[in-house]
Symmetry: C2
Subunit: 233 residues, 2 copies
DNA sequence: CGAAAGGTTGAGTGCTGTCAACGTCCGTGG
DNA sequence: CCACGGACGTTGACAGCACTCAACCTTTCG
């Protein structure tokens, strides 16, 4: 019995704009879906057939060049919105980085519902404006920052966003588990896997971070990190 | 007597969602403004005090690192929307690339008006979603493409967008005037001025473009151009 | 005519990519 | 329990593309 009322992201997703009655309607057009790590939900260039709210887990949004170079253009977490409403085609591929749960809607049904509920469109607009700000920040990183600046910026951003997403103030902001492997970090930062590895090694050697295992990062010196992220050596 | 009814972008800007009555109200809270080339309308990090529709001209949106490296994160033309509604601070600096005219609103007045007019918010949402798609496309370019691919992609994109903006089917799609100087092209593509110059020289030498003067570009071989933009040599 | 701004070209360096070897972790099966 | 294999990550050597620095050319404008 999956119902919106007991939904984990009920108060953080765009649905928080709806009252019980409206939620009931939305519930009927929506569908809970489990996605296992590595599985894709939609593909770049395909017809935009569905949109969804992320309930749990992390997913990446990516595009590729004709010859296969990939760029991750976004990483979404629980309560984030995915898909392209009001458009014909999906602008990017969406793939689960961890096992995930989403609440999906056919695009046509969602578009119709959204148009009839301005409060929901408003939430979606605010969210989209935030995403745009984030994307443009990332453009500065991709266009103008060095490898060391990129990695430091990435780790700080990750620490912040993971803390936000596990809103139950899980405690240690400085210790977190990356939902991405080295290749994927490279795809986010526009760098190669080897460069990522070297930069992480360098941060570890400098005593700025510690890496108990491949996926875990502990930030030991946040100030130094911020300094590197800002203007680099 | 500047009135919305005779506005050049009346049918293309987000205002096209409004009827005569609503337009009258909007007209009262809006203000026509001329901006001369090089002048800025708002600054990155400042409080978000105004938003605007571009009536005429081209403007750049840019961000910088602490040590002054700049990245242009967007270029807007007539009928485009600028500013950050529903947010506290301007995420980037907006500067006129050419002499321009805009129709500006205080953010608070616009926010209020927008919330009361779902059709307008809907237009704004669609526009923002398009901008987000464009920004993410650009992330692929910045993260993964070579200098020659970037310049070719940029010129094709420019030709397309300038044709769109001067909607009066001004004729020659393959001949256009760049609103950007070499430095600014570099700031869009995440490259230096010298690299831009060399790449343009190379395209000219290869007979793919011609450059009658510093600002004018004529695309002679669109196919070759698209090939370079796609996967490069 | 001269100066300044913008653009082009050249020489050399350096950062990041490429290619390759090796190490580590982990699950599987003998 | 240990041997094996594969996925993932690290490290090294080297190369190449784009950056830096510098000189020079072109256009514009006072």
């Amino acid at each position: 019995m999956s119902s919106c009322e007991q939904c984990l992201v009920r108060n953080r997703a765009i649905c928080s704009s709806l009252n019980a009655e409206e939620l009931e309607v939305l519930n009927r057009i929506g569908r809970r879906q489990k996605i296992s790590r590595g599985q894709s939900l939609m593909w770049e260039g395909d017809e935009s057939l569905l949109v969804a709210n992320v309930i749990e887990g992390a997913l990446k949004l990516s595009t590729s060049t004709a010859d296969g170079r990939e760029q991750i253009v976004g990483v979404v977490y629980s309560s984030d919105f995915i898909g392209r409403p009001f458009g014909q085609t999906s602008p990017h591929t969406v793939t689960a980085l961890t096992d995930a749960k989403v609440c999906s809607f056919t695009r046509s049904a969602f578009d119709g519902f959204a148009r009839a509920h301005p409060e929901l469109e408003h939430k979606l607009l605010k969210r989209t404006l935030d995403e745009l700000d984030r994307a443009r920040d990332w453009m500065l990183l991709l266009g103008r920052k060095s490898a060391s600046e990129r990695v430091a910026t990435f780790l700080l951003d990750m620490s912040r966003r993971l803390a936000q997403s596990s809103c139950a103030g899980a405690g240690d902001l400085d210790r977190f588990e990356l939902p991405l492997d080295r290749q994927q970090i490279g795809d986010v930062l526009g760098l190669t896997i080897e460069t990522i590895s070297r930069q992480i090694t360098q941060l570890r050697t400098a005593g700025i971070i510690s890496t108990p295992d491949r996926r875990t990062v502990i930030i030991l010196d946040r100030t130094a990190m911020a300094e590197i992220a800002g203007a680099s050596v």
